[in-house]
Symmetry: D3
Subunit: 286 residues, 6 copies
Amino acid sequence: MTPSDLLNKKAEVLIEALPYIQAFYGKTIVIKYGGAAMIDPDLKRQFAQDVVLMKYVGMHPVIVHGGGPQISGMMKRLGMEPKFVEGVRVTDPETMSIVEMVLAGTINKEIITLIHQMGGKGVGLTGKDGRLIKAKRLVEDKESINHVGEVDSVDPEILRTLDEGRFIPVISPIGADETGKTYNINADLVAGSLAAALSAEKLLILTDVPGILDEKGTLIPTLSKKKVEQLIQDGVVRGGMMPKVKAALSAVEEGVRKSHIIDGRVPHALLLEIFTDQGVGTEIVA
Amino acid sequence: MTPSDLLNKKAEVLIEALPYIQAFYGKTIVIKYGGAAMIDPDLKRQFAQDVVLMKYVGMHPVIVHGGGPQISGMMKRLGMEPKFVEGVRVTDPETMSIVEMVLAGTINKEIITLIHQMGGKGVGLTGKDGRLIKAKRLVEDKESINHVGEVDSVDPEILRTLDEGRFIPVISPIGADETGKTYNINADLVAGSLAAALSAEKLLILTDVPGILDEKGTLIPTLSKKKVEQLIQDGVVRGGMMPKVKAALSAVEEGVRKSHIIDGRVPHALLLEIFTDQGVGTEIVA
Amino acid sequence: MTPSDLLNKKAEVLIEALPYIQAFYGKTIVIKYGGAAMIDPDLKRQFAQDVVLMKYVGMHPVIVHGGGPQISGMMKRLGMEPKFVEGVRVTDPETMSIVEMVLAGTINKEIITLIHQMGGKGVGLTGKDGRLIKAKRLVEDKESINHVGEVDSVDPEILRTLDEGRFIPVISPIGADETGKTYNINADLVAGSLAAALSAEKLLILTDVPGILDEKGTLIPTLSKKKVEQLIQDGVVRGGMMPKVKAALSAVEEGVRKSHIIDGRVPHALLLEIFTDQGVGTEIVA
Amino acid sequence: MTPSDLLNKKAEVLIEALPYIQAFYGKTIVIKYGGAAMIDPDLKRQFAQDVVLMKYVGMHPVIVHGGGPQISGMMKRLGMEPKFVEGVRVTDPETMSIVEMVLAGTINKEIITLIHQMGGKGVGLTGKDGRLIKAKRLVEDKESINHVGEVDSVDPEILRTLDEGRFIPVISPIGADETGKTYNINADLVAGSLAAALSAEKLLILTDVPGILDEKGTLIPTLSKKKVEQLIQDGVVRGGMMPKVKAALSAVEEGVRKSHIIDGRVPHALLLEIFTDQGVGTEIVA
Amino acid sequence: MTPSDLLNKKAEVLIEALPYIQAFYGKTIVIKYGGAAMIDPDLKRQFAQDVVLMKYVGMHPVIVHGGGPQISGMMKRLGMEPKFVEGVRVTDPETMSIVEMVLAGTINKEIITLIHQMGGKGVGLTGKDGRLIKAKRLVEDKESINHVGEVDSVDPEILRTLDEGRFIPVISPIGADETGKTYNINADLVAGSLAAALSAEKLLILTDVPGILDEKGTLIPTLSKKKVEQLIQDGVVRGGMMPKVKAALSAVEEGVRKSHIIDGRVPHALLLEIFTDQGVGTEIVA
Amino acid sequence: MTPSDLLNKKAEVLIEALPYIQAFYGKTIVIKYGGAAMIDPDLKRQFAQDVVLMKYVGMHPVIVHGGGPQISGMMKRLGMEPKFVEGVRVTDPETMSIVEMVLAGTINKEIITLIHQMGGKGVGLTGKDGRLIKAKRLVEDKESINHVGEVDSVDPEILRTLDEGRFIPVISPIGADETGKTYNINADLVAGSLAAALSAEKLLILTDVPGILDEKGTLIPTLSKKKVEQLIQDGVVRGGMMPKVKAALSAVEEGVRKSHIIDGRVPHALLLEIFTDQGVGTEIVA
């Protein structure tokens, strides 16, 4: 291509983005950030670029991050043994303090730094900051997982306040009950609850798979509630994909327009999902 | 390229635009629209796309249009003979009413329609609407060009009001004095005056040439005041390019950061000027 | 009268206006401007004075103008033959461009100039500006009147924005559909639709007759829906009065408090209608 | 005159008022109310009409009233003897409580009632309400007139707050020092201080004379500072006219555009002063 | 106690107040001020301190005062004989003018002064100021008590306006009908109506008794509607306590959360009621 | 004391607080939180109560916390050896990540929880969140302490945004440069810089000593710049007290009204400092 052709190509791409920019102007997009996109240096940088661009073209991205591997890593460095029961981390008080320290003090701040480097203004929060997430105990009778919680209610005031100042909120999936007791909450479910509370336009859950696959390994582009239930019953959706699908489904049931389970290993997965028609994963509909 | 490569290419281009979006966020860009870009159907559509995109990514584009050929065309259809003295249209009262009718009723509305088709909200104004441009007579002693004026002062209130509502102003180069007498003003000079009054970040003047060329026909990328004066003296800058260079120069002298004379025949010339480093014409500096 | 008596007389008149100023404070008054009041120089000036005064004493006048004779005049100057079918102008694409040019470029600007001369700040709009009026085709099957439209919906945002800045909107009766196709709409019906969309206090339609006359030529001060239908059936209301009566009636049916068909040949007809009890024409009630 | 002529006459008067309405739009007019205009039932009603009209057409009238005769009257009813030293009321604590009671409880409320009857919303204040007027003792050494004060400073916040709500402030000329001690202040001087603190457009002082008269009894239309000093020296300005002239002069010296001493016995004196060129008394210039 | 113990004691008391400050933050508290608290110098000062403190910690206190004894006192000084029929003051026009003068000119201003001395900004109002209270005649057929009124409706706009400026409104229980005719209204009932119109959190009525006592003279801490009716029937609640109980009851019936009849003879009765659990009188519930 | 005496005592204490509440209303108080007050459970709870009370009575407390001991503790648990050179922690990249994790993830969140338990809404920030603190390297030439920084500039926008929403900011002393590189900054100096940037009324530095003591161990109530320099030269002020004194001094030099070094071991030290005249430590003046 001649330099002039290259320029024209560029202009065309920007113009192709216009209808998407118009469609999402002023809309809230909740993003569950995790997996490879949180580990690979290139993907990390690209994720931050995508989020900052979304903010500049008028969307309100809200990021919720996980951090299981890093938590387990730190526990091991401290001589503790991470344990899980049915996929849920056994969270006694000491584990809880490690969880909070790693999520709010390491991972959250790393994301803030990435956004900072791309020219954005991130503000890190846990569900305790600004009393954003009121949590309650998930399982009543197991002492050892005392600090595993679920979202009881969301007070979005702090998010609205930050929004006025053009800040990008980055949220660690931790909540507290009225007494201030801290809870470790599944990040997918936090993302789903926030999307519902904010009447978000979209919930985007980044994963390390192309989307939901059927029993033959083929990507399912769209999933209805009924189909999801079938897939769970058949054991096709299981393990770590369960809370993702549940969060995606409950979000759309509570008013979010669309939920998507997308492949975070694709460079600029967020931009591609937002700015193209084909999408890059599985869409969950109510 | 595979489809996936294409997608990645797209994302890259969007990301390349990010620093430019950040740099111009909230800034006013005054655009003098004219020439081929106002005639060729593709260029017209692309111009409107560029302007609407600029608005969506947070800039405040303000458009000033000309319309000499269309005015002359209508005069001929009405059996009148367009006359010019030293490049200035002889504007008696009857001509003035044709000028106003064609500028405000035909050309302005065509631009509004183009913006409308691209999803934007344009609002057409003359300098009389909202008392935007107070004009005065340009040449005192020639009765025949009684209605040729220049900008006396600008009251930008109507532009600020429209800005709050996310409207794109499109301005016909017509003003009035205190008695309501209407004046036909050179569109380049109106654009320059508005850019100065709005403390614009940029003034972009669309032309049908690659920019200012030196005596050998080579594009001059940057022009200082001194060099401009030299080029005028040498007769290199002359004719219709004179008011463009003057408007560009006086704008930067009154606080506009940069003026550019660019080639409106290049598709998406605005986007290329805004979103690339190389620029697409001649930059005038104070 | 002695000079002092004259002064007192003046003060009395101002004080008599007080209850009307109080009653209409902050209220929207939509005015269909046309006929003699748009031709006679004295009536024109008086109309502009009335509108500016209304604005200053706290009302929100919104003006919709017509322009049939001027359009036909320009068509003839351009060698075209104005045609009408059942009172509706045959509007092919070329006619449409003349209609738009004359309405938006000549008549609208003349009204803006009049308001300007009286110290007000008018802003001229068509239904395309700020996407004010979404139009649709009035008659589906007649190719020749392809561009005759009716109001599909009104987005009053641009009017509210202008209102904040104390501008007086002056509207040409033109709309566009989603594709940007332009339509010529009956000005009486545009005025009625805007009055309804703005929940106006009053719709005032200026005519060149004293009001609605009965078969004996006597002015009918008040007309109910039922009576209107009777008069139409009896052929008493017909021709150009039909859209006026329809607009007036539909406005009150959609929430406007009162519609009036008044005699625009009376000097200061607007002031007299607003600031006196007797009124100056026919009032249409729901 | 025929009824139609009468109507036209009315419209003309309203239109004549337009330039004055434009000139004073958004401007503050401080009015010292007193004398016959506060006693004669017709003048009282006309005064309230004028003030309410001024408010509706966009001015900000601020009223300061006096009340000497009523205070003396109440003192006599209570068996007390009003005393004056050099025109200043001897104000011991008991007298002060009568002054406050009559000004704030009787006269102020009567004015509020008049404004109420004309459809306005008055709010009565003393200088203690909202800490509007900080006062200090006028004469340090005379125990008997302990409570005669002068304006130390003005905090216009309460007036600005009321202005947002379209209320008309009516102020009794009473102030307090930091300890809460109450002072009786000359109403003319309070009006002058408020006009200065509010950067008023006009200070209007209502009197029971045609204005300032020269030694031959001829009305002096305009008075400069120098001329005022001469007239005082010559004993032409003296007695109760002294504080009026002083207040008028000091107001213009502190930034009020014009001060006027006008004849409150003329019906609608305020309207005539505001809405005509000739004026109705003496204008004091800096 | 050592000085350090004293300091700690102080801190503890402040901290004990915290939950009450939180509970009442941003809430409106209407206070009927009267009785001993309006006479005893210490109680007066303490009342003003309490009100100013309430304002500073984020509540919106609104004060309504009475003034029966002072009115009767002034009437006697003026040689008039105060008369009552069934506890209601016979209010002919002359009495009405005394009532207004004493309430608005003496008592109201004394409260403003007290608040001023404690560092607050009070603003005195009657129901006529800002058209706060529209009143109507209480008893239709008795000419002699022509000016005894009741609250017809409340327009709280002036209170909301003052609230923005952090002013404390102090209200004299006087209203006017549309014609401006002034009415003397029972202050307890005015307080109840204002509390209802403002959806107040609390109505506090200061009295000179410990609260409502049963037939044995024991304080009744809580009273329901039914119980109130019983006590009235049994003659236990009677005389001046009747309007207080009625105002308290009707306020809670119209949406006020709690009404209290408290002992104004207790120092800082307001603070104690607000900042402690036990309360200091009788609570009326719906 | 009888119960009634106790009540009165309580009211008196609240009233004593009134002048302090008035004096600090709307003022910013920056608090450096550290030492025993961050360890002892009672002192921690009392600190949070004090801060929440300050917020409710209209002040804007901004908390900056340290955390040296906790950082060293975590380093040891992870098998790392904390090292200091001249009192400054040797901060290589690995140490920096521990510092950030412990400050932002453990200590900050503990303070947020305490505030939460007292009914307040805290929001935890580092200097990277909202780009609050731009940092630069403190010592250029020592590789091993590469990440020890100092404040380069403060952008208080995020603090102003949170202030609108009535949130209490809690800040970890970490900053970043333009590249996103993270720096560990002395908390006292961060507090001093924020106090200056916010034009705070007060900077309060909590310590574990009664204040600055002279060579004989006597508390020095007030210290001037000159005296501070003398004490440093004499070696009386040294070690950890050095940055505190420097921060306190530079804050007052940059416009903070008063800096105080106070004894954080005293229960409710903040309240006592704010709400009493005697103060509880050493005041530093410019």
